[in-house]
Every structure is written in C-alpha cells, then in structure tokens.
Symmetry: C3
Subunit: 351 residues, 3 copies
C-alpha cells in the first residue's frame, strides 16, 4: 500500500452516488470518484460538499465533484444536486465507515479471561486483553488489543473499546458505546482526610454507570465514587483528555469537548454542552440545556437553560463583553487615570 | 452477578456496626445493612452518615440506617449514635476496602522480566507486565496487568501499580504508593535548544524519586530531568491528568487536584494544596503551606504561607474580589463611560 | 544496582572531558568525574556548567568540577574553560545519552504482526506489540513493549515509539520521530450532528501525517479528521497532555508546551511556540513565527508574527499589562468608586 495517498473510501461513479443520496447529476455520470474529501484538504479525485459558493474561491485545486443545493453555482464542476448537501455527505461517510474492516467474533488466544467472567460468543476479544472476575461482555461487543477490564464490570451489546482502554472496576457500559484509546474509567475518586499529620485515604468503593450510545475520548478519566454512583447518561459525547470527578452525574446527550474538567459531585443536566478546556467546580449543578463556551470557568450553579461564556461564566452576551474587556484592561486603567487627573485638576480649579 | 445493584460491601447488622465504630443503637439491632451509601445516591439497604439534619430534607428515598451524632435528629430512621460520624464512616470504608480481593504473590506466566531485574517473591506481578534491566520490585508490591517498568527503576514495598502504568526509566517509588492507570513517570523532560535552523533535543538523563505513601492519579505525567532529580515527597497526593515538569520538587504531603500543570524546575513546599486546573509557571517557588484555589494561575513565587486564588493568584480575599469583578467588567466599563460623560459635561459647564 | 545514587553517565577525567569539548583545564587533570549534574541538584562527583558566578552563591554543596567561560570566577573549583559552556555541556549530554542501551533489531516472540504488515529486519519490535493490516515499520525504528499500531499506518526510519503508544489507524510518521508513552494518534475527531433527538456521529475517515524529527509527549492526543489530513510538520516538538484536534495543521518546527489544547481545523504556522496550558480555538490561523506565552487563550487568528500573551492573547507588552491589571481589579474598582463619589460631591457643590 502506498501511504502517500489517502485510501479510497467511496469508489463509485457520480451516477451511483446520486442514486444513494437521491440527487440529480450535472456532468458526466460515469465520472469515477475515488474518495470523500473536503474543500480544505481538497483531493482532485474526491467528492466534497459545498454549502456556499464562496468556499470555492480560495481553493488551490478543485475536487472531482461536488454535492450542492440548487442555489449554489458550482462553476462547471461536476455536481450532484441535493437539498441538504451536508446530510447527503454524512450519509456517504456512514456508508464508507462501514467498509472499515471489523474484528470478527471470537477470543484471541493471548487474551486472559477470569473463569468467573462471561463473554458472549458474538463478542470479539483482541490480543493481550484481560477480563477480571465476574465481568460480563455482551454480544457484538469489540475489545481491541490491550484492553484491560477489571472485576465486576459490564460491556454492553455492540460497544467498542479501543486499545489500552481500562475499566478499572465496578464500571458498567450500556449498548453501542465507543471508548477511545487509553480512556480510564473507574480509577479511585480523589478523596483524602487530613488527620493532622498526613492525608488519610478515603477508600473509593462506588461504581460507574455509563448509558447507551456514549462516546468517550482518548485519555479521558472518569472516577469511581466513595460510595454511590458516577453516572454518564445515554447519548453523552465526551472528547479527549477530559476529567470527570467522582460522583459526577451527567444527564442524557451531554457534550464535553476536549480538556474539560468537572469537579466531584457536580451534576450536569440533559443536552448541556461544555466547550473545550472549560472547568466546572465541584458540587455545582447545571440544569438541562445549558451551553457554556470554550475556555470558561463555572464556579457556581447555572440554574437557567441558555448560553453562557467567560471566566467566571455569565450569560453569553455579557460574558463576551467581559472577555473583550479583559483584553482592554490596560486601556480601561488609562481611562481611569485620565479621569483621576481631570478630577484633580477640577478640584484644584474649584479650590 | 447482577450489575444493576451495587455490590454488598458491609453485610452487617446495626448492632455489629455499632460495635465496630463504638456507638449506641437506636432502632432494631438485628437490621441487616447491605452496604455503605451516601445521602446523595441514597440506597434503601445502605448505611449513610448525616452531619446535619438538613441533609435529610431533599431525599427521594431514605437509607436503611444512619450514623449521626447525638445532636442530629434522625426522624425515626434507625441510627447509630457516634461522636464523629464522618470518621466512623471512614473506619467502615477502610474495613470494606480490605474485602476487595487482592492479587496473590507470584509472577504471571506471561510477564517478561529482565534477567538482571530483582522481583521479591512476595510481590505480585500481573499478566503482560514487563520489567527492565536492573529494576527492583520489593516485597508486597502489586503490579496489575500491562504495567511497564523500564530499566533502573524501583517499586518499594507494598506499592501498587494499576494497569498501563509506565515507569519509563530511572524512577524509584517508595513504600505504600498507589499509582493509577496510565500514569507515566519518567518520560523525557521537554528541553530543546534552537540552533538557528531546528530545535535540537537536550538529552534528558535525570531521574525521578517518589517518596512513601504517594498516590498518583490516572493519566498523570511526571517528567525526568535533564540531569538531577524530579522529586515527589512522601505523602503527596496527585489527581488525574496532572503535568509535573522536569526538575520539579514537591515537598511532603502536597496535594495536586486534577488537571494541575506545574512548569519545569518549580519547587512546591510541604503541605501545599493546589486546586483543580491550576497552572504554576516554571522556575517559581511556593513555600510550605501555600493553598491555591482551583482554576488559578501562579506566574511568580508565593513566599508566604496561606490561601491564594485567581488568575494571577493573589491572597484569597483579594483574589475572590478580582474574580467577581472579572465577571463584572462590562459593568465597570459602563461606569467609566458614565464618569467620562459627566466630566465632559462638567468641563463644558465650567468652560 | 544501588538506586540511591544516580547512575554514572560520564566516567571521564577532567582532562578527557576537556579534550572532548575543546577546553583548557584548571585543576588536577586526573580528577575523575562520575556524571553530569546541574547546580540545582548538585552532585559532589559531578560536572556542572555555570554561566554566571552568582549561581554558585546558594549551593549547599559543590560539584566536583565546572564548565565555565573565562569571565566566570569559579572560586577554586576545578574548571574546564570553554567559550560556550552550555553548548559544551549539551555535547556531553548527547554523548552520555548514546550510552543508554538500545534495543537490538528483531521481533520479540510475543509481538503480533498482521500478515499484510511489513516490518524491516533492521527494526526492533518489543514485547506485546501489535501491528495491524497493511502497516509498515521501516529500518531502525524501535517499538517499545506494548505499542499498538492499527491498520494502514507507517513508522518511518529510526523513529522510536515508547510503551503504550497507540497509532490507531491511517497515521504515518516520518523519520527520527520520538513518541512518548501513551500518546494516542489517530483517534476519531470529535464530530457530531444534532438530529433533533440525539447527537449523530459523523464518521471520521481522514488520516494523520507526521513529518520527520517530530517529538510527541506522553499522554498527548492527536485526532484523525473527518476526511482530509491532520498534519504535524517536520521538526515539531509537542509536550505532554496536549490535545490536537481533527484537521489541525502544524507547520514546521512548531513547539507546543504541556497541556496546550488546539481546536479542530486550526492552522499554526512554522516556528510558532505556544506556552503551557494555552488554548487555541477551532478554525483560527496563526501565521509563521507567532509565540504565545503560557496560560493564554487565543480565540481568533493572529495575523502578524511576534510575541503574544494573555487571555485573550494580545501583543505581549499589552498582554502583560492586562494580566497584571487582572490581579488589581478590586483596586481599579475602588478607584472608580472614589471617582464616582468625588463627581457626586462636585455635582452637589455645583447644584
């Protein structure tokens, strides 16, 4: 294989693609399209989508063909006309992703499975996997190489654990989850008691419950609680390098972008979205449908749905004004100085 | 095993518990308590502790029994009266944690150990562990599956390394340490020298010394120095996703919460506590007993013990005022504008 | 081996060292020097370098010998005089680093290599390594134990992958790269489409291209794009716990310090340097030769080369003033209050 060109992931003619997405062809229907591409990394053998004509202005080279709506002039580039080009492209992406080879069911001979664990024959267990006491792996689940499952865990149907994923202990995953490499679920929550001479460890004996259709990014940590449950609701999507402290509760369909950090015992409502590198303090509550922009700090509870931003997080319009002014503090300081001088001068005049 | 209920970790009667913690029983002494629980994730078969009556107000369901002091009305819930309910609960947690099955001594047949390494027969070495040249594992140490120990390392007595822990090289751990999954100790410090055309690597040949009773969180990195030592004092407790740069020195009993980042060659005194996501610059010094609130930035040395907060970190009262005002900058700006208008009007009047 | 003393990494006499670095000896030429050390962790058997005499003032103990220029009084400590002591020391460090034992070529019997993968006989493949379909490992490459290479990847000549490195899929590394433990290259970019009831995954089918001479830190994540390429230019140096989002492009010789986070589709020019814990938003562009101080936030494109700092990042002088003022907001607020009171008093006087 030549690694210098990206792999073909479409390999269809313009006409074949138009049939799949339900569009009409402008151009030679037999034109062969090697792969899906986008306009930023434009591939001359690829099919891209264009939502606005202006995206074509700065291209160094053109794609072989475009997906576009009727309202977008495509300048003679072969085009499949569809109502919603982004969704048509997504359909093609999903189709292409199914072609990536999938592990067959079965247990790799190097895997080490506790006699008390139960692995469904329809699951796929990769090389150097370990599965601990009383753990369960359900039908269709795929454990890549070097996955480590401790005792008393469950991997639900069709869930996929990539290499080096660690379910430490007492962690259950629902169905159709996707956990990226080196995510760690179930390490001890961070709890200590200063006894006057040293920090005494508070044992962490709780568990983690992850719902269905959850995605968890590479190198993300979700901690086990002292007692009780750290809960990740169904449909949550968590990016890389995220910290979820002990006893945290995430509702359903919550989105946490990369490098977010959630303090212990915090509760995040359904459909909340936290932008990258946002910190949320411990023991606070975000109600449903709170969205916080990236780089924010949330020191206290947010009790109304809506958009927030800033450090500390405020309703988004105010938060953006504050952020702009943080970048103008020296100017503000100068204005205060000017006022002080003027007042002093006026006071002298009056005196 | 049914994963839908948490495991029993107490399995004692009210009377038996009262004998362990030295308390007196209110209620049926034969009441069986399945497990330890807390009020936030309240389990109807569990024993919780209550430090204030108000914590009982918002519960959807009640625990089977409570630990409480004489001054807390427990509303008819079976109760064990003790002077310090939190400490009594901690005692029960420690007892329960000892029941979690522990790896027996011995070396798993898949482990690969250098002929020049020394592993004490009382140590437990898990599956797929590798131990490099001249490294030492002392009595009672437990290496979980997939631990990687490079050359010239030491794991002290009774220290526990969870799955995927990596001691890269020249890293020594004292006794009774606990290192969580995918922590990396001993990767190269980040040192380069711009030679006019590229960044030339400065080889990192130093080592890491970790004291006794240290806990290090999942996915935390502690770097090896160029020469000399990166030092983690005895009793330090470090959370997940923390970065400790090369040549850093942590005193004894230092606490670093999640996502803290410590720049190279920085020195942190005994008993310092840094809240989550706090950044400390390189080459600064924090004296003993400095505590910095979460989300702070420490660009310069802190030369007096005490509490600090903010970005940049200031003594805590000032830091909190600054933080509140960061959220009111648009209001402050408006007040300056108002003053400017008033002054202008006054100057016109005078003119 | 006694772990309580650092290993000897020099083991030369003063005269031998002076010949290597091209200097002149002051003191007994036969003095034996055990190892390289630095003044902060001063080793009495070691050779350190001193760029200023004042660095000798606060030492508890002295090194055996010094590298210093003619202009630095070394107070009778045996000294090798050289023009550029730092560069001479670097030369000795490089020499010492070559003595660290290197893995011999060959494939460890426990490694599992796809029949369609190609591994050069001059490569070294460690224990428990997995290499997927159609992947290539070139001559002189070293894969430490527990490395996981997925399908369609390439490891270029003489590149080194430390333990637990994961190339998930479609990731190519150039020559002479060094990837530290538990770095994850090629996990899915974070892309979802809210379809009104849940976040639908946007498949990530792109690839990662890493140039030559790139160093990537422990626990760093670099994501695969939807389509197209996430690109890390030759000579880039990336520290620990860094997040590089999907479709990001780093130019050549870019430096990212620890805990930096780069949002998706952002483009960073040649020779840019981002200090620790700096966040860069998605879809922004930094031109060549932009340097951003640690702890900064970059929400928008930086279109001129130069030094920046702050949250939000501003040209460095302004950014530093803003940062100082962030720590004086309560004082600024007090000054505004004072002005308000004075104006009110003056208005009363006039009224």
């Amino acid at each position: 294989m030549d690694q210098s060109v990206p792999p073909g992931n479409l390999k269809l003619t313009l006409r074949q693609v138009s049939e799949i997405v339900g569009g009409t062809v402008e151009g030679q229907p037999d034109l062969f399209l090697e792969r899906l591409t986008d306009l930023s990394a434009c591939d001359p053998d690829g099919l891209a989508f264009a939502e606005h004509e202006r995206y074509l202005d700065s291209l160094n080279r053109l794609p072989a063909a475009l997906l576009a709506s009727d309202s977008v002039p495509t300048r003679g580039i072969p085009t499949i006309r569809v109502e919603k080009p982004r969704e048509a492209f997504l359909k093609l992406l999903v189709r292409a992703s199914l072609q990536e080879s999938k592990a067959p069911p079965g247990i790799h001979p190097t895997a080490i499975i506790s006699p008390s664990a139960r692995v469904h024959p329809g699951a796929s267990i990769g090389a150097f996997v370990t599965i601990g006491e009383s753990s369960v792996v359900e039908n269709g689940a795929i454990l890549f190489d070097h996955v480590s499952i401790g005792p008393s865990c469950k991997v639900g149907e069709n869930s996929i654990l990539k290499s080096f994923v660690c379910l430490v202990t007492h962690t259950t995953l629902g169905k159709n989850c996707l956990i990226h490499p080196s995510a760690v679920l179930g390490a001890d929550g961070f709890g200590f008691f200063w006894n006057g001479s040293f920090h005494q460890k508070i044992p962490q004996l709780g568990r983690i419950e992850v719902g269905d259709n959850v995605e968890i990014g590479a190198l993300t940590a979700i901690d086990r609680a002292m007692v009780g449950i750290t809960k990740i609701g169904s449909g949550c999507k968590i990016d890389n390098l995220v910290q979820v402290g002990h006893n945290v509760s995430l509702g359903e369909n919550v989105v946490l972008a990369a490098a977010v950090s959630i303090g212990g015992s915090t509760s995040i409502g359904d459909r909340c979205i936290l932008g990258g590198a946002t910190d949320v303090s411990d023991h606070v509550t975000l109600v449903n449908d709170v969205r916080v922009g990236g780089g924010s700090g949330v020191p206290t509870s947010l009790k109304a749905p809506g958009d927030y931003f800033g450090y500390p997080a405020k309703p988004v319009a105010e938060g953006r004004r504050n952020f702009v002014l943080q970048g103008k503090l020296s100017e503000m300081n100068q204005r205060i100085l000017d006022l002080e001088r003027k007042i002093e001068a006026m006071q002298k005049d009056q005196g």
